[in-house]
Symmetry: C2
Subunit: 424 residues, 2 copies
């Protein structure tokens, strides 16, 4: 779709600013979405939340694999799928049939972006390698997410989030000091790679207004994980050895306090993280006042950052004695108001029911045609001119008529014939 | 700077495709960079790696705080700073002086993007709130990264990476099953937020070609962290309780194998993650062949995903017995080639010295004017039309002459007067 479809926006006959914001920053950008599971779907969901029209092309009988991953009700789309495919449209196409491939070709012709994260070599075997897509549409921005770089020793290997977290260094720097490597809970191998891919696509969309050409974008999940661990290479440079696991310490590991302290309550997440900067004693002095130990301000055992770190066991004991007397919210509130960096360890339930986060749209409740109300995290970036409402993930093939009839101009009879041929 | 500065690219007199790629996707985009530490600097570094001209504006006597954070040599820029400020230019401006503020106004007037992540309220007190910046330049895209949403209960609180990881739910889902909450090593509170901010800026740059207007972008680190934990909300929906810590299991936690298994060697990272999909028994059957237990293919104790999970202790024992006989690279290579998802736990040293990752540019060696050669992670997104060479972070004020003389047209005498007035 040519960019010029959008030139009306901002002109005198344009939609109002509110209406333009509702349409979103990427209004007019069409994405052919062949993604599955999370690394790819998180990328195209991001584009959808910025206003792109994302057309998810799925295998006709079961749909994308994520629909069935860890579902509690066979035949009903999983929560996992719903979390990663909001604001998209779904069409079916059997890419092993001539009819299905013809539909994909037609979609590529009319789109700006193509994204896939099949197993290595799969999209090429289906006949939609980069060169083929570019021949159909030289303006296409063609993006792929794989576990590993295709030209490297692991180029043909399968990958999931945890494989990327292991091979990208995240597990080597997560865990207790003398413990085994641990996988971070957040899926930085999957969503982390998807967001990198979105950055590449957005930059290429910007560039295309000057060059008129699309381009190829590749993200290896392993390499995206390395980027999130960037700061650990300062530790390696500093100590001339691999960055270690460091418990809850900051990654450079020479700060005290820099720990999650247990608070009143005794639940698994009744903790509050407390940190004071090394740069000055300002945070530390404020902290001492709050916990009623003003007499220690200026005490040489704690006055300088190095001394606090040397005496970190004393620091931890002193703080724990105080935090155990208060619940985590009180600890956070009291310290935060006093200008000491502190953060309660919130769990998913506390976050998703937080009235402020709900009001802000950090969590939204969407209406799903089968499951009904479903509460999920929204899109975290607030933009004054792009505020796309969040709607539930589509049922399989829900937009066949709209896309095949509307966009591609197929008659109902042609659509029926494709259905009979099991092409859609 | 108007976009039209770039229209030559792609025309017949344009630079070659190679030259255009070297300039990058964001060539012609100018960024006024008031960021510090990591959450902001990772955003502007990303923009620089995509070809934007990033002008880092720093306090004249010491520069941005990250220059001195955890440095091993007083007076020499820290590795931490070098990792987060490559490809930028540095100018000095004392924003508490009239002269310094005038320079910042002039830079905003000539730029496309403004980014800051000072403590809450600081930029407003300096006189550069969004409304002020927009008045100077209505095309400016004005982006802010803070720990928490400014309109919420924690809007005035300070934040660092670990505070965002605690309050964004990452710590509640990281750690051993019966253990305390642990901080993921990767800095998803900082770099994770910075990348979200980059996405917002890129989308706004795209949108601006149609609207002619800039806009305001806000990212709360807490909310960015929530987005990386998106899938944990499927666990909550499935089990109607907060997503738990789950050791090394996949986040939905009903898979076996889904674990880091100890390998030969005995080092802290001599482990290999092995995962088999629940969807079919394909990975599992392949795995049994590799470990010489073909007789178990089809065995009802392991044939279905549910059965494998029920008997996960047996699964773990069986696999450990095999992995302990081989080093982690052999385990990964053997399983990967057989089509079983597997990933060795690599540490920072193994990654940064990996010949393939070096060749690919996942790690690069830059020449720093004081420290000499420095090896650091590059930018992980490969783009066929944007391949900006990575250069070392600038010394403080290294580009005063170039920017103040060249871009703003100050004479050497004017610059000297500003220096005398301690404005730069």
């Amino acid at each position: 779709m040519p960019d010029t479809d959008r030139t009306a926006v901002g002109a005198s006959s344009s939609p109002s600013s509110d209406e333009a914001a509702r349409l979103g920053a990427l209004h007019g950008v069409r994405v052919v979405d062949l993604t599955q599971f999370e690394a790819g779907t998180s990328c195209t969901e991001t584009l959808a939340w910025l206003g792109a029209e994302v057309i998810k092309v799925e295998e006709p009988t079961k749909g994308e694999q994520g629909r069935h991953a860890s579902t509690d009700k066979p035949g009903v789309d999983s929560h996992y799928f719903m979390l990663l495919n909001a604001n998209k449209r779904s069409v079916t196409a059997n890419l092993k049939s001539d009819g299905g491939r013809a539909l994909l070709r037609a979609l590529i012709e009319k789109s700006d972006v193509f994204v896939e994260n099949f197993a290595p070599g799969a999209i090429e075997r289906l006949g939609f390698a980069y060169d083929a897509a570019r021949e159909i549409n030289p303006r296409i921005i063609y993006a792929q997410v794989k576990g590993f770089a295709p030209d490297g020793p692991y180029g043909k290997f399968l990958a999931f989030d945890m494989i990327a977290q292991a091979t990208g260094g995240a597990m080597s720097i997560t865990g207790e000091r003398d413990g085994r490597p641990l996988k971070p809970g957040p899926t930085i191998g999957d969503t982390g790679a998807g967001l990198h891919c979105a950055i590449g696509i957005l930059a290429a969309l910007y560039q295309r207004q000057f060059t008129g050409r699309g381009q190829r974008i590749e993200v290896a999940m392993q390499e995206a994980v390395i980027n999130y661990g960037r700061v650990s290479y300062a530790s390696q440079a500093l100590w001339s050895k691999p960055a270690p696991r460091n418990g809850n310490q900051s990654i450079l590991g020479t700060n005290a306090p820099s720990e999650a302290y247990q608070c009143k309550g005794g639940g698994p997440n009744d903790y509050c993280y407390i940190y004071t900067s090394r740069a000055t004693s300002q945070h530390w002095d404020r902290l001492l006042k709050i916990i009623g130990r003003e007499e220690l301000i200026g005490d040489p055992r704690f006055a300088a950052a190095e001394a606090r770190y040397q005496n970190r066991d004393d620091v931890d004991r002193m703080l724990s004695n105080w935090t155990r007397q208060h619940d985590k919210r009180t600890v956070m509130q009291t310290l935060g108001e006093a200008g000491v960096p502190a953060g309660a360890v919130f769990d998913t339930q506390e976050l998703s029911t937080d009235p402020h986060l709900r009001r802000r749209g950090a969590f939204v409740t969407v209406k799903h045609p089968v499951r009904g109300d479903f509460t999920m995290p929204g899109w975290p970036v607030r933009m004054s001119e792009s505020k796309v409402p969040i709607v539930a993930a589509p049922l399989l093939g829900a937009h066949n008529r709209e896309i095949y009839g509307g966009l591609l101009g197929l008659t109902p009879e042609q659509e029926m014939a494709l259905r009979d041929a099991k092409a859609i």
